[in-house]
Amino acid sequence: MKSSKALFLEVGGILAAVVTALICGFVVILLTSSEPFTAISALLLDPLSSTFNIGTILNKAVPLILTGLALSVVFQSGVFSMGAEGQLYIGAFVGALAAVYLPAMSPWIHFPLVIVCALLGGALFGMIPGVLKAYLNANEIVTTLMLNFVAILTTSYFVNNQLKAASGGGYAKMENISKDILLPKIFPGMAAHAGIIIAVVAVIIVYLLMYKTSIGYELRLVGKNGHFARYGGIATRKVIVVSVMISGALAGLAGIVEVLGIHGTFKENFSASLGFDGIIIALLARNHPVGVLIAALFYAYIQVGAQTMQFGSDMPREVAVIIQVMLVLLVSAQAIFTYIKQRYARSGQKAVK
């Protein structure tokens, strides 16, 4: 358990990194925009200016929370999976199959069934790199990157051929999912759909799983020190496979929630790298579920801000990329965090004198 001061320093460091990254973005805006202050205010204030925009932030945050959770689980076990994107596609695909093709039934049975299918799809697809890593020591970074392409191309094949909606208007997508099992809006008139509730529940479940069960304990122990864990009698290989499968299930959930909440059916290439954004979220959150929730909301806020900025000024929304990249680099710069901790340690000794 971290002491509260160490936690305070860590959070402070992350906040400093966030501010620095934002400043880097502002500098670029100042240098390249002819109306920099309009742009900056559109970036920072417009996302909160209407209930519609706030709803959009929540909607954007939902898949980010889920993929962020997915990656935080697998990173905690010391596996550097980059496969959330592929698992998300497979989960969404299997879930959408269940949503479109199962015979008519009560939505109270149908909806959970669709979710379970998505979880299973993601988990089983995640099992492949997990087994390859645990039992053959195959580099998980490469296998997951390759499997992403396999997932995207396979699903693209099916929605372009056998499963293509007749009424799709030339788009490669499945038949529309019945309105009964689509995620409803939380409040009428607001853009936010009920996915945010699912995401918050997932945060709580993952928190309990990681910190209050023996599975979570073993998982974190394997990530901290695999040799020690094995010496302590933990079946490290099984733990690795389980962690990648949990991660895959969460990524699959992200996919199906996106399908049920936003798109209404499975569309080709619908994700636009949500799985990779999840990596950024997990890094920002230091793999903690509650951190994931905060980081995803912040990240979604910046994304919506980038859009309102593109709409309200002469800056393209890609400026947000500068902020994202600096965030990733600064938050993961161990040199900076070690420095902060050392300073703290030194000042602590002074206090003892």
């Binding site: 195959a138 390759m146 392409f149 890094l283 890609e318 400026v319 500068i322 040199a335």
Partner: protein, 311 residues
Amino acid sequence: MVWQTIWGQIVDLSLVAVLLRLMTPILLASLGGLISDIGGVINIGLEGLMLMSAFTSIAVGSSTGNWAVGVLAGVATSVLISYGMGFFSLKMKVDIIITGFAVNIFGSGFTIFLMSKIYGMTGNYSPTGAPRIPVVNIPFIEDIPVLGKLLSGHSLMVWIALLSVAFCMFLIYRTPYGVHLRSVGEAPYAAQSLGIPAKRIQYSALAWSGAFAGLAGAFMSNGLTNMFVKDMTAGTGFLALAVVLLGNRNPIGILLGSLIFGLASALATIVQTVPNSPIPSQFIQMIPYVVTIAALVFFALRNKRRLATMP
């Protein structure tokens, strides 16, 4: 229908030309990946580096009217970013995988940013009359029936890529630098204790990978096509990572791996252009990725057996 087209292209040797052309960016990028891999600084940012170079190369090339200046500018940009990667991963201690990941996001987003800021375009930038990397027509040989088609008429970059294979062989296995590079990759602390400047070697390994990724990117915008399209590398940088492992981390293996991947994308192109093809192009595009996973499993099994038979 598809089979006839493929067969026709094999017979008139145009498949060879297409294959070499499509292989070149994969080969160059994976040679870059190889050097950084051997130096122990796995560069997964190849994709981002290629995009930055592709954009710079066509932007500078079309404004100066000189392809060589464009290519050099592209390579220089890519090398510069690689040094940036070195700064963050070696000095600021950011995990090298995360650094590469950041470079990929940066390359994809920043090129779109520049394109819309400089040229006011959001999807693609295709300047009229932008100079291209020239095609090498070999006198006399080009008139010989079969040989002419096999050897002549390829882009200069195809030859540069093939020569780069020999160059990398030499650099890695025949020079003191290569020995240092390999030792730093194997055991950085041991190398450092022998007086090898490990950090500097790793910086240079990243710079090499930047240079090769730069050449690959420049070829994509200035040779393969004559424009910049957003995210035009479309996973070539990730394929290159796969080729490094598929080629068992040596230049000749990488040449073979690139040939396989080049062939797969050449076939996918043919299948996509022939109407009502019975073979889905998605599955042909998938071949390289599946082959890579199979190869990884194969190498892993072999290593396992080797470890098991050790006394």
